[in-house]
Symmetry: C2
Subunit: 747 residues, 2 copies
């Protein structure tokens, strides 16, 4: 009922001055002004100061480069012919999608057909990028959160001249080995920023990308030079809007005032099960106003190109809030019999309907054909992109002269190169060092690393004082202090993970970490999986990693979590036992930029154990003590994290009784798996079948390590609410149990 | 900015008629009218028609039973003395919480201190329940979504006379074996409806409880008898509000118009990391208006008892929308030095501050003391609760006379007793039956069961036509058709799971199922874990269970998911291979009311295999074919789900070469684990170490089954986008691979 009253509807071409947003200064981002300028061609571009208030136009049908100083000298007028050109371009996008899905007989044509106009305007008129260097640092970022519509993005990348999507790639859409998989994957297709498809992830990634931009801009921009300066655009659909993760991330985007985040909500009223009326009748506009966003409604997203342009203009003018542009479209626009129905969402149209759609939209061409006028029109993006990057490079050279230190730091963030000797900053410990919880030792590592790693930033989902994640030398990243590095995510684990994916994939040198209780990885598992799949080197700082957390009880006590992540591909599950191992875990985590790491850390105090080391951690499993010889211990005791201490204690007892006992720390199964067979044999000799593992978690999977004659001590039920010591005892996670198991094998 | 303008503030005691809500009929729920009636005592209650418009009062300081016909004959006036009594009661709640946390030196005193007023009003003045039968069907449900504040609920249950929380239970708060664990757990503490603590789950459970009430009321109520008729109350905090799951579930609650769901939002501005300003500045009110809720703001939740009462009255008057009552409170109210700070959230106050708080609130009593006047006042709830239940029982007897069939069905839903021979409805198949995807076979089972199980209802997260979950004989559960059984959850997996937990725990005979792609269990894992922990027998219908889904690619292809659920306690992970096994999986799922089941189902067609059976599934692992004798096969081939066919094919080839080959279907590890040693030996004899397993998922964990000399064939990397057959071949999930592995063992 309050839904429509408070909605801002932008239908006018004329850009409005939104005085109530309060920003009146003429800055680098104050670049939206007089309409009427015309399409620039690269050849004719000169260099002009970007601070000119009339230096660009968005909201007209002309494209003028906005942020760069590149400007048109030659003027090309977009008149009626140009409208035809725009429509041809939009229909090209539609039919590339239709044809690719048809050829694969698999895929989602509906979204590309409906979103082609906004896609065209973004990639052809608005966004700044360099097709031949998809990783150019200062590019605008685009995220297709509704990832099933990936043919939209592939068509756009193809038209724009990206090498990753040639005609043959479109023709091998969704086929083995192609660069055009069924959903956008950054690790397969240069030009794709993040991996989407699982709904809601993309918009949250985009919040991370926009956060990264705001943070880096605040750190590196100077009054005379905005060296970091790009927008983040997203297209999300009804599905994304329904997902809780989207609400979490968008609440943060509003809180942080991410003014350069512009999200297009493809409001097409159709989801897989039919009309959204059956499950989604909330007022999205009102909700986003509640979240602190600027909301615009484009009522005619199908052919209202100028409406879309005006909305972008308005969105850019609002500098202190992210903008949601609700674009009402028709899913499968152009298909006479399937448009506006769920049947066009996720299946090929079928030959007959493809023909009918060709007739309906007046498209006489063969499949995959790009008309010459469209090809010619888009061909400018390759030289223009090169010029944009060249211009930025020149700008950077100027910047470097004036701000040497900052330039060097920014360079390292762009390249991802770690400062020489950074790992020397990691603390080391001796057995005499005081006992401490690994969550506290983790904080020592984080704070040590913050001094040497310019890209380290992160925080917790409202558990900073429990997860021990605050960087003491920095303040909070907030709307008005975006240069700071402590990020306050609130109780939004899922959004947090996906935001960190966005940060990690913004620039190779950014190293985001995030934290909650280990059990609550369940809330963010979908985002963690995307970290692993998309090679986003996020560091997950997960404390309270077992029944050792005590009284909070079984809702808070992880049991199956270690196993569940050991089973996940391309992720490092690390469970350090003390200070040296925690430092080792951080070393591994920082070095694995293309593989996320999860650190499982204790709430409770643990002693500094003799024999632990950073180098040991790097091998995943290693011997911390051994009184055997000839690689023939009587028994091998294996522990991880807080239970390594128990293994060590049990070993002491057994050795008193004359046994030859080896104690192995098994901090990371994945790293151990990667060692040579010889090394593995040196730690776990095949001939020694007397093996006892102990870990305060499920025994699931441990047969691999202890073998069928070994014994895994663990917990295969839910935990309980009581003081930690009591729970350990009641559940038999004790040195006595290890000793008994060992003795039963030794006969 | 629109936040406050549209907010409905209720501060008046006088109930407003909210004409714009449109409901003007005088029905059973139209029971809020004239204030001024007085506290009923049970002894004086007569029987009077509940349709009288003046039959109850909420919004005065008097408690009059609302829904029951029990009415006061004796009138007791609550004057100034009574305000003192109310304050004493509220302070009793506060100090029981303070003292229990202090004794345990662990827990969360802040919320109970701030929410004691609303807690008192709910349990003493508003809610209908029977302390001596916490499972009385028609009770009002209460959910403490901010579960860390559990001492609030324990104190209330104690005062109300529940046997589960005696004084000694309060004194053993958070101790081993107590009924007062660190967070509310329905399986530990009668009177607790659901298990909370992980934030956001509780409000979503409450949506499920309210859905169940609306559904059952629509099915069973008659114009002359509202046999199903209760409210669902929730207290949630800032943490719950930040969680995406809460937004998902509340969007559905608004969509469904759950008018009898009344949520109290404890707006205390403090979360663990400090002031909510650091991460949570959205307008919750505006968001909830967008979600279609009625929103009320109680500005003084600390002492504004009448404001709280008036808000409840207003909430009840709004019948077509759920209500959010934002109650602004002070966390740790009463503590002179710690109130309104994060330090009172999750730690004991400490002896000194406890003393100061006692002084500040004028509380001269020893720890755990309940003053006599408070004890006397609350003592009426035991007889009153008994009378409420007796009255409802009498009503039910009347109902039963008139509506025999409905009464029998409702009885079975209340008791959870399954109809005799229900499992005969399950379809069976022969090898001649057509090949089909197990997702389709699952739909046949669901539709067969819907005819015989009155409590079966559920749906999908916007994938009904992919998950094949529609019950063809029913329509959609919607706002105006709540009697139907197809629930449309939208793309809200997490909310869906938690809503199903609420449905399952509403009544033993309700059997909720819910569905999405198997990989998206990642989105709802926290809710699935609560199903397992809280013994909620939800059936999770998870289709597209492997790389066999093909072109959608690695974002959609589960790899680690089977292992990750096998590692989770108290859950059945079932992966049927064909029609008989799918039927068997449903039989097991329905019978396991206190253990949730996950059915992993194929997108692709699978043949009906010789040897499969419902009975086999019940044993978890069983032989489907064998040409060996004396329990001594040369090799055992083990498969699950879509790969059982591959094992069978490989066996055929090997037998042609004269080998004695056993094929074992390993549909559920958990069920196999529960069989006798003799049975296990009959399927997997210890002497036979030549074992090959094949499963299109991670090999993690399979060492337990195949042993160190066996071979597990699977996929330990992410999948790929291509047609399914191609992916199987490229990843080596083939009969050839099984044959090669078997031969390598046979020498």
């Amino acid at each position: 009922m309050a839904a429509s009253s408070s909605l801002t509807v932008s239908q006018s071409l004329v850009g409005r001055t939104r005085a109530h947003h309060g920003s009146t200064t003429t800055t680098h981002s104050d670049r939206l002004s007089l309409p009427g300028f015309s399409l620039s061609t690269l050849a004719g571009r000169g260099i002009k100061s970007s601070s000119s208030p009339s230096s660009l136009v968005v909201g007209s049908r002309k494209r003028v480069n906005s942020r760069s100083a590149v400007r048109a000298a030659a003027v090309e007028t977009l008149d009626k012919t140009d409208t035809t050109l725009v429509e041809n371009s939009i229909n090209t996008i539609r039919f590339l999608a239709i044809d690719a899905v048809e050829k694969a007989n698999s895929g989602h044509p509906g979204l590309p057909m409906g979103c082609a106009p906004m896609g065209h305007i973004l990639y052809d008129e608005v966004m700044e990028y360099n097709p031949k260097n998809p990783k150019w640092f200062n590019r605008d970022r685009f995220v297709l959160s509704a990832g099933h519509g990936c043919m939209l993005q592939y068509a756009l990348l193809h038209l724009a001249g990206y090498d990753s999507v040639k005609e043959e790639d479109l023709k091998s859409f969704r086929q083995w080995g192609s660069q055009t998989p069924g959903h956008p994957e950054n690790f397969e297709t240069p030009g794709v920023e993040v991996t989407t498809g699982p709904l809601g992830q993309g918009i949250a990634n985009a919040v991370g990308l926009a956060l990264a931009e705001k943070h880096l801009a605040a750190r590196f921009n100077k009054p005379d030079c905005d060296i970091v300066d790009h927008y983040t655009y997203v297209i999300l659909g009804d599905g994304c809007q329904m997902e809780g993760i989207a609400n979490e991330a968008c609440s943060l985007a509003g809180h942080w005032g991410l003014g350069k985040l512009i999200a297009f909500y493809d409001d097409n009223h159709i989801s897989i099960d039919g009309d959204t009326d059956i499950a989604f009748t909330e007022s999205v506009d009102t909700r986003f106003e509640g979240l602190g966003w600027h909301v615009i409604w484009v009522k005619n997203g199908n052919t209202g190109y100028d409406e879309i342009r005006a909305a972008i203009k308005e969105a850019k003018a609002v500098k202190d809030k992210p903008t949601l542009i609700k674009v009402t479209t028709t899913i499968g626009y152009g298909s006479p019999n399937k448009a506006n129905s769920y049947s066009v969402h996720g299946s090929a149209l079928g030959a007959k309907e493809v023909d009918a759609t060709r007739k309906n939209l007046g498209w006489p061409y063969e499949p995959f054909h790009v008309p010459e006028d469209v090809k010619k029109h888009w061909s400018r993006h390759v030289p223009e992109g090169a010029a944009l990057e060249a211009e930025w490079n020149a700008k950077f050279a100027e910047y470097e002269k004036k701000y040497k230190e900052e330039a060097a730091e920014l360079k390292s963030l762009i390249s991802g190169e770690l400062p020489a000797g950074w790992d020397k900053a990691l603390p080391t410990y001796t057995p005499e060092s005081p006992a401490d919880a690994t969550r506290n030792l983790s904080q020592q590592c984080l704070n040590a690393l913050a001094k040497v790693l310019p890209g380290l930033l992160g925080g917790s989902a409202d558990l900073a004082s429990s997860n021990m994640t605050l960087l003491k030398m920095y303040g909070d990243f907030q709307k008005d202090t975006p240069e700071e590095r402590n990020v306050r995510f609130g109780v939004r684990e899922h959004g947090m993970g996906a935001i960190c994916n966005g940060i990690a994939l913004h620039s190779p040198g950014l190293i985001p970490y995030c934290a909650t209780f280990f059990v609550f990885t369940d809330y963010m598992r979908a985002a963690i999986r995307i970290s692993a799949l998309s090679e986003a080197g996020v560091i997950y700082v997960m404390t309270h990693d077992s029944i050792g957390l005590g009284e909070d009880g079984p809702t808070h006590q992880p049991i199956e979590h270690l196993a569940s992540f050991r089973a996940m591909p391309n992720i490092l599950m690390l469970r350090p036992a003390d200070g040296n191992e925690t430092a080792g875990a951080y070393k591994v985590a920082v070095l694995n930029k293309k593989r996320p790491s999860i650190l499982a850390l204790s709430r409770q105090k643990l002693p500094q154990l003799p024999g632990t080391s950073i180098e040991g951690v790097e091998k995943g499993g290693y011997i911390i003590s051994d009184n055997s010889s000839g690689n023939k211990p009587d028994v091998i005791l294996i522990g991880t994290g807080s239970e390594l201490e128990i293994s060590a204690k049990a070993a002491d007892e057994l050795r008193k009784e004359g046994k030859a006992v080896r104690v192995v720390s098994f901090v990371s199964w994945e790293l151990f798996d990667e060692q040579s067979d010889a090394y593995k044999e040196s730690v776990l000799p095949a001939a020694v079948s007397a093996r006892v593992s102990i870990e305060a978690g499920t025994t699931f999977g441990w047969e691999k390590i202890v073998g069928s004659k070994g014994k895994a001590i663990g917990i295969d039920r839910f935990g309980a609410s009581a003081p930690a010591g009591k729970i350990y005892k009641e559940f038999g996670i004790t040195a006595e149990a290890v000793i008994a198991a060992a003795k039963s094998m030794l006969g």
